[in-house]
């Protein structure tokens, strides 16, 4: 343990605090916006440590030693001011707000507010209003396009939010942990623990130096969310926000409408079970629509296309978010109480949820030494159903409306009706097989701030985050499951997950001027973090009574899951902030972590950081156009992917339920590794923040490099090493390098007009540098499907696709065999899913009371495997499948004969018995073979209109009612349009790839379009009132 820091603090504590008084001065501090006076302004005598703060009315009283001294005023977000006393007894002061984005205050690690200029690393801040402007149920999505270097891929259009993929500065972990740490009001939590309207600000700590004080949890970056408080409220403020938006699918496939269900041009319905001609197929290679009567599942009906059968299935969803808050502050403290209600209806029938969120933030000023702050949040989510079905592959001849009565008449509850047997009626699935859940979440944290002297204060904090999640999964009788016939008699699963986090921490800070030009701030703290979780789950097949979903209602056996997990991390940290005349800033930090999940002999890790920031414009004379220029540099270490509980100690025998329903123990195939260490990332970062023309133009650029060693890899071990199994080991090193740039521009700013523009641009290259060589065969592989994998090989960029490519003639054309079959190479690199670069373009144009803002996201480069397109083509649904009217097709490509290359001809095919060429079904089956992933591996470049808002803030003089302070109404939209070459889907999507060498591990993979749900476009209006 590091003992030096506390000792140093103690020595500093012993320096005497010297008080004397001669003369009293009093006054009031106001701002142009707030003539009533602002509380909490620092007032002190320049060159000393003597000072006070203003009271609730902005009034201060201070004793000064003589009238030649100068009184200084400082307040976060405002220009500091100084006034000489010159014998006056009353000195009032009007503080002017800092010019926007100059001397911006940001929340840094441990919740410490810092002037941005003092930071030697990049922290990007997103204001609460930007998050709340066009509300998203998943706060992660609201960050999209607002922070450079953060790669977000939103989840599909299913309800509830959550699940988006977020990667900050590259995929630096083989263990696959790319989710950043979310800190909610100072304690670990999850992204959506605070309602959007209650968010004060979000800080994204991207690099190692910014996040270093979070030690072993910081490797993937940190997102800090701070909720609003009642502080700085004058009197009582009531706010009401209402946000009503509607959702519809953003992109749906483009279909052909000339051919219907069937195969080889044939179809007729008998029983949907193969009794007719291809009436149990999922393909759309049936006869052309001719309007003639033909037996179908609806009876003998005209053979026509139901052009809207997919579109009509989706309904317009809605999301209503209503929030009311009351806040107030007085000299004894402040509070803010808020209530949010979210009512969501999905785009799929019978999908919906209701979320209620109660929050109370309060601060009590007990006396001049002690302030107590508490933060409480209760969130309840009731989701009746978020079952997903995918109807996009419904054959064109299916009248989907006719499926709404989903029971076979007379067999209600027992047998569903569908257009084919080997599949489920989508309405049946949505109404009879719901997946529902209830979440209860309580987050409480209390902190006490003890200000012992002007220079020394100590904060103690205790926080707890308790989540209870219940879920129910029901399958009615006759549910068809591909591999599980038992579903035919129903299925029921009921489970509960409890998570309980507790955080206790303290932080002591000593802050004073030393020598003449230096201010030093020395802090020392510690955290005790404990996490416990419990999962219980029971599931059973074969229900005795069809309509009772209860685990006792079973004919078959029940399998149970019962799991407890506990871990503790203890930490100590200390840091030093050194400030030379407000011009050069040096931060040094160190954090020590002890993790209970590691082997007792190897459970201690420490994470240092050094960051330097220099204000060039303060040090050197620069041209007048330069209003601000900061250069910064930092180096730091952080950890990632600390192994979870039970990875490092004694192997275990899990319980296995056998087919007779009995439970017994079996050896775990997973072997513990006591020497396992966290992944350790060393981050180097330099940056420059240049602002010109009174901040009308700002340019911030960061270059970073992160080298992450001890990569955690799970791999097969030799069975001779104590039996069959897998083991986890520290196996390699990954390097991420990148550039992040932000350009802020205010092209127009005058009395009526303002136009603010922000462009974010980022580039990241992440490579696997090395893997341990004692096990030459090991590498990490994620299977997209049996024929396409994402493999990590040494020296290669992460996210590289491997699979068989098409053989090509020297002129680049595809090569076929003489019989017209595809020719494939051996496994080879097929490209990468990561983008070449990403950019966003954010604009706000204000004219008097009207403001228009819009945000574009651009992702350039990278590939996506479009499984949706592949299926649409292979099943004969897409427009492409009308090629040649589905007959006589000769694939366009070359053949090789006697060493020469020439075009494949009809004659070649006929030589092999394909008289008249290939049929459409044959052709597309060949072209869309899963073995040849190249067929749908396409460029994933896209431009997206992410956000748009047109707001009208009612001018003050329009508002006749005196208690109304402001009213804003706005038209809002999210995810409004997308431009891309990717067909049939929103190119912003991810799939789950299977981890090889793992039992059930999956990872979100951006280059894989497979989601069941289209993404949604969201549009509506919002109302915001302040009273």
């Amino acid at each position: 343990m590091q003992r030096q820091i506390p000792i140093l603090i103690l020595i500093l504590l012993m320096s005497p605090v010297y008080l004397f008084s001669q003369q009293k001065i009093t006054g009031k501090v106001t701002t142009p916006d707030d003539p009533l006076g602002i509380p909490g302004v620092n007032v002190f005598i320049k060159g000393t440590t003597l000072g006070t703060i203003t009271d609730m009315d902005g009034i201060y009283t201070i004793d000064v030693p003589n009238d030649t001294c100068t009184i200084a005023f400082s307040y976060i977000g405002f220009n500091p001011e100084e006034l000489p006393v010159k014998g006056r007894a009353i000195i009032d002061m009007v503080l002017l707000p800092l010019l926007e984005s100059l001397d911006e205050v940001v929340i840094t690690a441990l919740g410490i507010k810092r002037d941005e200029k003092a930071l030697g690393y990049s922290v990007q801040k997103v204001k609460g209003e930007e998050v709340a402007r066009v509300k998203e149920l998943d706060v992660v999505n609201a960050l999209s396009g607002k922070v450079a270097g953060v790669n977000i891929i939103q989840a599909d259009g299913s309800i509830g939010g959550g699940g988006s993929r977020i990667v900050i500065r590259g995929e630096s972990s083989l263990a696959g942990n790319t989710d950043p740490l979310f800190i909610i009001n100072g304690i670990p939590g999850s992204a959506n623990d605070v309602a959007p309207d209650d968010i004060e600000s979000i800080s994204v700590l991207k690099g190692a130096a910014a996040a270093a004080l979070y030690g072993s949890k910081a490797g993937a970056g940190v997102v800090m969310i701070t909720s609003k408080s009642g502080k700085n409220t004058k009197g009582m403020l009531v706010e009401f926000n209402s946000n009503i938006t509607f959702q519809s699918p953003l992109v749906l496939p483009e279909y052909q409408n000339k051919f219907g269900m069937g195969e080889s041009g044939e179809y007729s319905y008998y029983d949907g079970n193969g009794g007719g001609v291809f009436d149990d197929t999922h393909l759309n290679w049936g006869p052309a629509f001719d309007g003639q009567l033909r037996p179908q599942f609806t009876g003998n009906k005209p053979w026509v296309a139901f052009e809207g059968n997919v579109k009509d299935f989706y309904q317009t969803g809605h999301t209503y978010v209503n929030n009311i808050s009351v806040s107030s502050s007085s000299e004894n403290g402040s509070y803010r109480f808020s209530y949010s209600n979210t009512d969501q209806k999905g785009i799929l029938p019978n999908n919906g949820l209701v979320k209620n969120n109660l929050g109370l933030n309060s601060t009590f000023v007990v006396n001049k030494y002690l302030t107590i702050t508490s933060n409480m949040n209760y969130i309840r989510t009731d989701c009746d159903n978020n079952k997903q079905v995918d109807v996009r592959f419904t054959p064109r001849s299916i009248d989907i409306g006719a499926l709404k009565d989903y029971w076979v008449p007379g067999m209600e509850g027992y047998q569903q009706m569908n257009y084919r047997r080997s599949g489920n009626n989508p309405y049946f699935e949505l109404y009879e097989n719901p997946y529902s859940y209830i979440d209860n979440k309580l987050i409480v944290n209390v902190s006490a701030n003890l200000k012992l002297t002007e220079n020394f204060n100590i904060v103690g904090k205790y926080g707890t985050n308790y989540t209870n999640n219940e879920f129910y999964d029901k399958h009615a009788y006759s549910t068809f499951a591909k591999y599980e016939k038992r579903d035919l008699k129903g299925f029921y699963k009921n489970g509960m997950n409890n998570f309980w986090d507790r955080t206790a921490e303290f932080l002591a800070t000593y802050d004073r001027k030393i020598f003449e030009h230096f201010t030093v701030k020395l802090s020392f703290g510690g955290t005790h973090f404990r996490q416990e979780s419990k999962k219980i789950e029971g599931s059973t097949y074969e229900l005795t009574y069809f309509d009772i979903f209860n685990l006792n209602n079973r004919d078959g056996y029940m399998s149970a899951l019962d799991e407890i997990s506990k871990k503790v991390t203890n930490s100590l940290y200390g840091f030093l902030n050194l400030d030379y005349q407000g011009k050069i800033f040096l931060d040094v930090t160190r954090r020590d972590d002890w993790a209970s999940t590691l082997h007792p002999d190897f459970n201690h890790f420490f994470y240092p950081s050094v960051a330097l920031s220099t204000l060039v414009h303060e040090l050197f004379p620069l041209p007048g156009a330069v209003s601000f220029w900061k250069v910064r540099a930092s180096i730091a270490q952080v950890g990632n992917s600390v192994p979870g509980p039970y990875f490092t100690i004694a192997e275990k025998y899990p319980f296995i339920t056998t087919s007779d329903g009995l439970s017994h123990i079996e050896p775990n195939y997973f072997f513990t590794n006591p020497y396992l260490k966290p992944e350790i990332g060393t981050g180097y970062e330099i940056g420059s923040d240049l602002r010109l023309f009174q901040n009308r133009l700002g340019f911030d650029v960061t270059l970073y490099k992160t080298v992450t060693k001890n990569q955690i890899l799970k791999t097969v071990k030799s069975i001779t090493s104590g039996g069959q199994g897998y083991f986890t080991t520290n196996a390699g090193q990954i390097t991420s390098k990148g550039i992040e740039a932000t350009l802020n521009l205010v092209p127009i700013k005058n009395k009526d007009w303002t136009w603010e523009m922000q462009i974010n641009w980022s580039l990241d290259r992440t490579y696997l540098d090395e893997l341990i060589d004692s096990l030459p065969e090991i590498h990490k592989t994620q299977d997209v499907n049996s024929f396409l994998a994402i493999e990590d090989k040494v020296g290669q960029r992460r996210g590289t696709f491997y699979g068989r490519a098409y053989e090509r003639a020297p002129n680049g054309e595809r090569l076929y065999s003489l019989s017209g079959d595809t020719r494939l190479t051996e496994d080879t690199q097929l490209g990468n899913y990561n983008p070449d670069w990403m950019a966003s373009f954010n604009n706000t144009i204000t004219y008097k009371w009207l403001s228009l803002s819009f945000l574009f996201d651009l992702r350039y480069g990278g590939l996506i495997y479009n499984e949706i397109e592949r299926k649409l083509n292979m099943y004969g649904l897409s427009e492409a499948t009308l090629l040649n009217n589905r007959e006589g097709i000769v694939p366009d490509g070359m053949v090789q004969e006697n060493g020469t290359y020439r075009k494949l001809t009809l004659e070649d095919l006929e030589n092999y018995g394909k008289i008249g060429g290939q049929s459409g079904q044959e052709y597309w089956a060949t072209q869309m073979e899963e073995t040849a992933p190249e067929n749908v591996l396409v460029d994933d470049t896209y431009l997206k209109l992410r956000e748009m808002r047109l707001a009208f803030e009612m001018p003050k003089d329009w508002i006749k009612v005196s208690f109304v302070k402001s009213v804003t109404v706005a038209l809002i939209g999210r995810n409004l349009a997308v431009w891309s070459k990717v067909k049939h889907i929103d190119p912003e999507t991810y799939g789950e790839a299977t981890e090889k060498n793992d039992f059930d591990g999956t990872t979100k993979v951006p280059g894989y379009a497979v989601s069941n749900m289209p993404s949604v476009r969201s549009y509506g209006f919002s109302l915001s009132c302040k009273f």
């Binding site: 209970s596 004694a650 050896p667 104590g722």
Partner: protein, 600 residues
């Protein structure tokens, strides 16, 4: 005052330390612990590992001994080609990917052995400690017999390294012999272990003791060539000290794995009828049983379902009884279709008998055969070893003939093979024998009848060891007796497989090559008399046990395999068949049978 409080607070933080949490927080509470290196916190009964420990080894062999072993040892003549998955080529590389190979199962068992031993140590249970050791020896003897040098010392320990080194077969062999001796000695024959989890001896410790000592005889004989003095010493130590080393005294002491028919079902039950059709008996085995009027014939085999009528055009059963028994020709190497076309296929050949597999009308196994036990070591096998040892002068006391005849009788008894049963008389009709005495008095069986005695012992042992794991293979590799033939067609596999040689060993599996590469490479280079560098050297390389044998030891006599169509029995549907059948039959049929060629 505040400063003082702070002192106290900081002092408290320092004293309380930073890695303090409950001692057991990182011990998984969700499932029982095996204790690993620490035995003090052991929360298991050793019996909880017993079934898994035993079954894993059994399961490693139970399919392969049927699918591979029976064909290699010429019990079966396959209707799918022997080149596919069997002797001449591919069986060197056992497929361990489907959880079935001896390598996978043998090493999987190590965990259970280790855990059972740890649990036994923690519970101070001497019996289970010894049983764990006996099983460890049985498992690793099997592995080293099949593969040669293998990971052992670094595999069996609690904290096995990720890439265990390969031990020399010689070292493994003597270590296991000593362990087996000690373990057997330490068992108290009057005690019992848990009845329900011991599917071999149902808890009878005295039988475990006899099993261990009987294995000593087997493994002494297996090393009789590589370490003759040690073998003689060991045999005598066991034979001359029956109080210390009680051995099997009757078939009641046989080591049989008794499938419970519920969780563990016999391989013979699990086989589909098409798998049964693929492996009818070989003509070699059936003809030998018929020629000896062996009462085990109707037990091992089912009568054929169809019989041809013209001996000049087809193969006809040669037994006299009303139930006809015939084998499918052994050794067809070329093509599945060719293999199954012989003599119109499997309907004209005998298949696995009712003792092992009872079937309904559709050829599906009935529940009754789910519990057919698998023999691991038998009384009769032991007696054959003792006959051989006596004949070779390694031990004295009883006559070799006594052991030999007792062994035959024990085998009959084991299978309840009777000369008075209805099945027997239906098989042999007028030529049927009446007693064991008559059986052992036949010229080909009579110990003093002039045939080579070691051949007779080996031949009878071959018959008695049918479906006894891989012992017939290990035994034949050692004695090369009786003189089983290789087909001429197998010569084509000389570059890739064992061809006309008896296979020397199985190759290390691919999974091992990929996860323990350096050690496998070292073993291939150093474990055998010549380095294994390619497929050709793979079969020439001899392990330590076979050291003095020389490179030609494994060469088998060759018979002329019939050429497809012309040399085959006639077929009504295809005139190309059988045009040269008579010719081939007259010249070559009997050349497959050593007893008809004065080959001792």
């Amino acid at each position: 005052m505040f400063i003082r409080l702070l002192y106290i607070f900081l002092g408290f933080m320092l004293v309380s330390g930073c890695d303090t949490w409950e001692k057991d927080i990182n011990i998984n509470p969700n499932s029982p612990s095996t204790g690993g290196e620490s035995t003090s916190t052991y929360d298991f009964e050793p019996s909880e590992f017993m079934l898994d420990m035993i079954y894993n080894v059994v399961h490693g062999w139970d399919y392969i001994h049927w699918n591979v072993g029976t064909a290699v040892c010429e019990y079966h003549g396959k209707t799918i080609s022997l080149s596919q998955g069997n002797r001449h080529q591919a069986w060197h590389a056992f497929d361990d990917s489907n959880d079935g190979g001896p390598w996978v199962q043998g090493y999987k068992t190590v965990r259970y052995i280790r855990n059972m031993r740890n649990a036994a140590v923690a519970n101070d249970d001497k019996e289970y400690q010894a049983i764990a050791t006996i099983w460890e020896c049985y498992d690793f003897f099997n592995l080293t017999l099949l593969y040669g040098d293998i990971p052992y010392s670094q595999s069996i320990i609690d904290d096995a390294p990720l890439t265990p080194v390969y031990d020399k077969q010689k070292d493994i062999y003597f270590t296991l012999i000593n362990k087996l001796k000690t373990a057997g000695k330490s068992l108290d024959p009057t005690s019992m272990v848990d009845v329900n989890t011991d599917l071999i001896f149902y808890g009878d410790v005295s039988k475990w003791k006899r099993f261990a000592n009987t294995l000593l005889i087997r493994y002494a004989m297996y090393m009789a060539d590589a370490a003759p003095d040690s073998a003689v010493a060991l045999l005598n130590e066991v034979i001359l000290n029956p109080e210390v080393y009680p051995i099997m005294e009757s078939n009641a002491d046989n080591a049989m794995f008794h499938y419970d028919g519920v969780q563990y079902k016999s391989q013979y039950y699990k086989l589909s009828s098409s798998k049964i059709d693929e492996a009818p008996f070989s003509n070699v085995f059936i003809e030998r049983l018929v020629s000896l009027k062996d009462p085990r014939l109707p037990i091992y085999a089912k009568p054929v379902s169809s019989v041809h009528d013209d001996p000049t055009k087809n193969i006809l059963p040669s037994n006299e009884g009303v139930d006809k028994y015939a084998g499918h020709i052994y050794g067809i190497t070329t093509d599945n279709a060719y293999a199954s076309a012989w003599n119109d296929g499997s309907n004209y050949a005998s298949k696995l008998g009712d003792y092992f597999r009872t079937e309904d009308d559709k050829g599906t196994a009935t529940e009754a055969c789910a519990t057919v036990p698998l023999a691991l070591a038998t009384y009769s096998e032991m007696l054959f070893f003792l006959a051989e040892a006596t004949e070779k002068g390694m031990i004295t006391g009883q006559t070799a003939r006594h052991y030999y005849e007792s062994a035959i009788e024990a085998s009959f008894e084991q299978y309840n093979a009777s000369f008075t049963s209805d099945k027997y008389s239906r098989a042999f009709g007028n030529s049927a024998l009446n007693s064991v005495t008559e059986y052992v008095s036949q010229p080909d069986v009579l110990y003093t009848g002039g045939r080579d005695k070691l051949t007779m012992i080996a031949e009878q042992k071959w018959i008695a060891s049918f479906l006894m794991m891989f012992e017939p293979y290990f035994d034949h590799r050692r004695t090369m007796l009786p003189k089983l033939r290789a087909s001429s067609g197998s010569e084509a596999y000389s570059s890739t497989g064992s061809a006309t040689k008896w296979p020397s060993r199985a190759a290390y599996p691919n999974s091992e090559t990929s996860t323990n590469k350096a050690n496998v490479e070292y073993a291939n280079a150093n474990a055998f008399d010549i380095p294994v560098v390619d497929q050709a050297t793979r079969n020439l390389a001899l392990m330590w046990l076979m050291q003095p044998k020389g490179q030609n030891w494994l060469q088998m006599p060759v018979f002329q395999e019939p050429n497809y169509k012309a040399d085959y029995p006639a077929r009504e549907t295809d005139a190309d068949f059988g045009t040269n059948f008579n010719n081939w039959y007259t010249q070559n049929w009997n050349s497959m049978f050593w007893w008809k060629n004065n080959d001792n």
